[in-house]
Symmetry: C2
DNA sequence: AGGGAATACTTGATATTTGAAGTAATCTTT
DNA sequence: AAAGATTACTTCAAATATCAAGTATTCCCT
C-alpha cells in the first residue's frame, strides 16, 4: 500500500502549457464522479426507504453516531454529514421521535447538545448497515480489488487536497 | 464435518475471508466517493448560487441542453440528470421563466415537449461553465493527470457495471 | 466585573425534491 | 375502429433542505 497520504502534497497549479488537456480531464472526472455518486445514492436511497422506511440522510447521521459511543454534538454532525445546522436539528428531531437517538445538554458547555444512539438505534442501524453493505458490494462488483484500492487512494488524495487548500 | 485432508486448524475459509476483505473495501470506496462528491457538490453549489444566482440542478439541466442543439425531451432530461419527472417539470419551468430555455410540443409526438436553450441560456451557461471548470480543476489539482485518467476509467467501469446489471 | 464578540443550536419562512395520482396522446390488439 | 394498455408529461401534497434571524451561553478584553 503506497503511503500517498503520508506526506501531504502541495496543491499543484496547472501550468499554462498543460492546462487545456488537464482541465478537460478534471472536468470529465468530476462529471463521472458526480453521476456515479448520484446513481448509487439514488439506488441506496430508494432501497433504504423501501426496506427500512429510512433515507440516506438519516442513515448517514446514524452511521456517524454508530462510530462514536460517546455521541456527537449537533455541530459535529453537521460538519461530518455536510448538511446545514437547521437540517441536522430537523433530522435529529425525527430520529429522536422514532426513539433511535437521545439528545442531552453537554455538561461542559450548556449551549451544546450531545446526541447519541439508543439501543434501538444501534440495532436499527446495524440491520440497515448490513443490507447497505450488500448493495454496495454488488454495485461496485465491476471493479477489481486493485481498481478499488487505487480509487480509494486517489479519492483520499483528492479529498485531502480539497480540504487542506481552501478552494474555491 | 468430515475433512479428507488434514487441514490446519485455524485455516480460514479462503473465499469467505477474501470476500470479507473486498466487501469492506467496496464500502470504504463508496464512503469516500460519496463524501468527495458531496463536498465538491456543496462547494460548486454555493459558488454557483453566490456568483450566478443559480444551482447545481439548474446547471446540470443547462449543461445537458448545451450539448444538444436539437434540444431534449423532458423524459430524456429526467433520465440524464437522475431526478424525478416532477422536479424536471419544475426546474424547466423556472428556467423558462428566466428566459433560458423554451419548451415546444414535439412535432412527432404531441405528448412530448422538446426543451432547448435560448440564446440567453446559451450565453448564461457558457459563462457559468467557464467558472465551473476553473473551480473543478482547482479542486482536483491534488491528483496527477495519470491518477485522474485512472479514476476516470475506473468510474466508467463502475458505472457501466451498475447500469448493465440491474442492482439492486 | 461586565459589555461586546463569538459560538451552538433552534426556529420559521422559503426553496427544492419526491412520489403518487391525474391528463392527454399514442400504441396494440382484437 | 374502438377499448385497453402504455407513454409523456403535469400537478399537488408531503417530505426534506436551505437560509437568515433569534436565543442562550460562553469567551475575551479591559
Amino acid at each position: 500500500m503506497t503511503s500517498r497520504t503520508a506526506a501531504p502534497r502541495q496543491v499543484r497549479r496547472p501550468s499554462r502549457s498543460q492546462a487545456a488537456g488537464r482541465d478537460h480531464l478534471s472536468l470529465r472526472v468530476w462529471l463521472r464522479l458526480f453521476s456515479c455518486s448520484t446513481l448509487v445514492a439514488a439506488r441506496v436511497s430508494s432501497a433504504l426507504k423501501r426496506e427500512f422506511g429510512s433515507s440516506l440522510a438519516r442513515f448517514d447521521v446514524l452511521s456517524q453516531l454508530y462510530r462514536e459511543p460517546e455521541g456527537l454534538r449537533m455541530g459535529e454532525l453537521s460538519t461530518r454529514t455536510l448538511t446545514t445546522g437547521g437540517n441536522i436539528t430537523w433530522l435529529v428531531g425525527a430520529l429522536e421521535q422514532d426513539g433511535y437517538v437521545t439528545r442531552s445538554t453537554a455538561s461542559e458547555d450548556r449551549r451544546a447538545s450531545r446526541v447519541s444512539l439508543t439501543a434501538a438505534g444501534r440495532r436499527h442501524f446495524a440491520l440497515m448497515a448490513q443490507a447497505h453493505e450488500r448493495w454496495i458490494v454488488e454495485m461496485f462488483s465491476a471493479l477489481s480489488a486493485a481498481e478499488q484500492r487505487a480509487m480509494y487512494e486517489a479519492l483520499g488524495t483528492a479529498k485531502q487536497g480539497m480540504t487542506s487548500a481552501r478552494i474555491p
